[in-house]
């Protein structure tokens, strides 16, 4: 079964509000990454957090990781219409080959 599960499946907010997306996974990981996919485009890497890290920031993005709960959250502050996209978490499992397993994504709509 897939490793990452994002929640919610879809999120609709107004510009300026914060958006929080959650990701849960099943097995031990080396790292967890978040990617963005604009409609009809490829995925773009946003941020990577390693299993020994608890929080990471990049611009308006804040990612947390709780390995005891096997969960992560992505917070986008002061959202903009250009943030409208699907957001995916991806995990690099400790076992097996070094490859990423993606969740189904959260579709974020930011209205002006």
């Amino acid at each position: 079964s897939q490793q990452g599960e994002e929640d919610p499946q879809a999120l609709s907010i107004q510009e300026g509000e914060n958006a929080t997306m959650n990701c849960s996974y099943k097995t031990s990981i080396n790292n967890l990454q978040w990617y963005r996919q604009n409609s009809g485009r490829g995925l773009v890497h946003l941020i990577l957090i390693r299993s020994n890290e608890r929080e990471k920031h990049s611009g308006r993005l804040r990612v947390t990781l709780d390995t005891s709960k096997k969960s992560s959250s992505l917070l986008i502050t002061a959202s903009r219409a250009a943030d409208t996209a699907s957001y995916f978490c991806a995990t690099d499992a400790v076992w097996g080959y070094s490859t990423l397993t993606f969740g189904k994504g959260t579709m974020l709509l930011v209205s002006p």
Binding site: N30, N31, Q33, Q37, T99, K104
Partner: protein, 114 residues
């Protein structure tokens, strides 16, 4: 100066045909991947190549055959196309020695099998 490029962007074909999708990266990466994204946006790894050698083949039907002529290219050939092959196929690459660290994706190829 495109980092990871794929051709074609759209591919519409009949069931039973054979088609190829090409991928090239100019990032100097050693590892390249093919992913399939279905209509529900679920993204699944199909193949991984490192320095032209197959590392991962995730239970993909043998109608799918990747070919890596050099480490900058990873092409995907599909024989006897089926309706269920309709999806968006993404090529990706990652830097040497970083395993499943940051991956760089191509723009995708939308395959429609009629």
């Amino acid at each position: 100066d495109t980092a990871v490029s794929q051709t074609p962007k759209y591919l519409v074909t009949q069931m039973g045909n054979d088609k190829s999708i090409k991928c090239e990266q100019n990032l100097g990466h050693d590892t390249m991947y093919w992913y399939k994204q279905d209509s529900k946006k679920f993204l699944k790894i199909m193949f991984s190549y490192n320095n032209k050698e197959l590392i991962i083949n995730e239970t993909v039907p043998n109608r799918f055959s990747p070919k890596s002529p050099d480490k900058a290219h990873l092409n995907l050939h599909i024989n006897s196309l089926e309706l269920g092959d309709s999806a968006v196929y993404f090529c990706a690459s990652s830097p040497p020695g970083q395993g499943a660290d940051t991956q760089y994706f191509g723009p995708g190829t939308r395959l429609t099998v009629l």
